[in-house]
Amino acid sequence: MAAAATCGTGAGSTGSIGAAACKNNVTSFQRKGPRASGTDSGCSRLVSIAGTRPSVRNGQLLVSTGLPALDQLLGGGLAVGTVLLIEEDKYNTYSSLLFKYFLAEGIINGHTLLVASAKENPADTLQELPAPLLDDNCKKDFDEDVCNHKTPDSNIKMKIAWRYQLLPKMEQSGPVSSSRFGHYYDASKRMPQELIEASKWHGFFFPEKLSSTLTIEPCSLTGGYRKLLQFIQNVIYEEGFDGSNPQKKQKNILRIGIQNLGSPLWGDDICCTENCDNSHSLTKFLYVLRGLLRTSLSACIITMPTHLIQNKAVIARVTNLSDTVVGLESFIGSERETNPLYKDYHGLIHIRQIPRLNNLIYDVSDVKDLAFKLKRKLFTIEWVQDNYLRQERNIYPPGFSYLLKQKDSAWGEGSLQHSTFLMSFLAKATAFASRLVRHSEPLKQTGSGRILQAAGPRLWHDGRRQATPGLLAIPPSSSHAEL
């Protein structure tokens, strides 16, 4: 590489190791705009790459993750040169779906793909990619989805709910043409064969590469990771994604997808025991991968079964070494599957980390409790009220007046946001109550029978709600008939 050459000759003085001004140094963090053009020489030619757009905040080049809803949560998309780490859900159902969306987006935009897996042959993975929703044939089906999905909640106006109105609506727009940034995919159909064959992809299937030779001498990385790094570096250099190959002038993005990184199939025992021999293997791999990505026009998605990693310290280190971290938690087999709050959804999505690139601040959505569902064809992400709020309702039963005092902490009890949230929440609680009550049902005795439920808004006829405090009534003499 040209970078290494200049550094090698001038390695006598220490200044040159870092200070070698490599003119053809392509980093992916090119600032858009005339001010940056003095130092960043490749600035103008990055603008015209298909499937990318500059971020509105810092001019960073972004690619779509394949899910417009996720793009919006990540601040517009995935930055070129960064890693998106997906913490897999328990049975790897939805994380593999997100993986395929990422690859499908690459095919639609004409990007080069690099798919690495130890479990499934990349050729088979590519056959299973979802089909894009590209034209108006599907618009009718999509509109049906949107109509079914309108809940009665939206009909109820929030009276003291100015905070709710500030919350962002998730993207609900319809299918779009292929020149747009993010695309929608139909998970029930396969991508057309001709699109797959027209695309350029490289596959790394670890069981096939077991016998190949290595040029990297043994270090603390396990064999699988070393071979994968070597493969990625070869592709980046041969195809010219880092601008160092004089024969190749590349103006495309390389999308790297690595599946189930850290699982025992890669030869790593980090998911098997708590004190493993090579505990630094995975973190070293991520560091060198980050170095490769930062110096080339590529974006990477990694799915990792973090629920299997027993050493929490490793998970913290892996999170620090990745740029964007998204965790998926599916409801399959968990107690939340029967929770009425989550009955429309398939799982929760946690945005654990978003990078601050070229900036002190970053785009973070205010909404923290997000759930996803795979409804018929589309994968949507929505805000859902969490358990905290359900318990909050129990503490503040309606029919009483409350004095909320403001205290000093930012989001503790009594803070301004908390109080406003509570007020709007209580307004919503009564609205919910009006849905739940069945007026034909007889009044149930709760508790020991000594305390009667007074006339008023009757809530929580599921029997769990105890009697309203403070409303004592003389028990009817019929309950003591045995005397």
Partner: protein
């Protein structure tokens, strides 16, 4: 640099203490804004800075530095800044054998390496110029960050040894300053990281600890900063001074306020 943070720390670029180790620590939040502050602060103070940047690329610091009023490319070209870009160098070191010893040589080693090449690099970068013309005031070593060295296979003791050697070379011999960032893993039970953090806390003169709010995410208050002034060489009877502020990071600056006095609440 952030003028409000300078006021809190009671320093200006013209009037700073020398021979001090400043420890930056973050827990449940991102403390990199402190690294940007000190980088631009010392460049404006006309010091010779050696920056060991292991987690981000040069252009990242450059773009943020421009917002804060310093140009890293100009500083590098005139020799004020010596920049070790960890990510780019790691790719060079890892994929091809280097003829001369490289600072990041430990990436190629099978068992736990040592940080001696990095120490040699720092020492070489910050050694005083012999011709007597003192262009810069005093040397400063900035490390971002030390926790990633633990992820690369080095032990906590090796990193502590490296910091000790650097303190002797920079703080004691040349009366310069050192600023280093360490992540606090909190409840993740990272023993090596805790050893490193505790060891450095006992050696440092100033600890800046950025913490996320205990109550969770807030749009107007991004976190809490604890400032602790220490005197490692004095007997423990003398009490250390400590202050706590909450902060909000904006596009080009960070605003600090007393706890509970966020403009959004008042």
């Amino acid at each position: 640099m952030f003028p409000e943070l300078n006021n809190l720390l009671n320093t200006t670029p013209d009037r700073t203490e020398q021979g001090k180790l400043t420890l930056l620590c973050d827990a449940k939040t991102d403390g990199s804004f402190l690294v940007h502050h000190f980088l631009s602060f010392y460049l404006k103070a006309n010091c010779k800075v050696c920056f060991v940047a292991l987690v981000q690329s040069f252009s990242h610091y450059n773009i943020v530095g421009r917002k804060l009023g310093v140009s890293l490319t100009a500083a590098r070209e005139c020799g004020q800044l010596v920049f070790l870009e960890g990510l780019k160098s790691s790719v060079d070191v890892f994929f091809r054998a280097q003829a001369e010893p490289h600072p990041l040589q430990f990436l190629r080693e099978a068992d736990a390496g040592s940080l001696q090449p990095v120490y040699e690099f720092v020492r070489e970068a910050l050694k005083p110029v012999e011709d007597g013309q003192a262009a810069w005031r005093y040397p400063v070593l900035l490390v971002d960050d030390l926790s990633v060295l633990l992820s690369l296979g080095l032990g906590a003791v090796a990193v502590l040894d490296f910091m000790h050697y650097c303190r002797v070379a920079v703080c004691w011999e040349q009366k310069g300053n050192i600023v280093a960032l360490v992540h606090d893993s909190g409840d993740a039970e990272d023993e090596e990281n805790d050893i490193l953090l505790n060891g450095l806390s006992h050696q440092s003169h100033l600890i800046l600890r950025a913490e996320g709010l205990a109550t969770g995410f807030c749009r107007d208050v991004h976190g809490q900063l604890r400032i602790l002034w220490r005197t490692p060489s004095q007997p423990a009877a003398q009490r250390d001074r400590s202050l706590t502020y909450q902060y909000k990071i904006q596009d080009k600056s960070v605003s600090f306020f007393a706890k509970g006095m966020s403009p959004a609440v008042l």
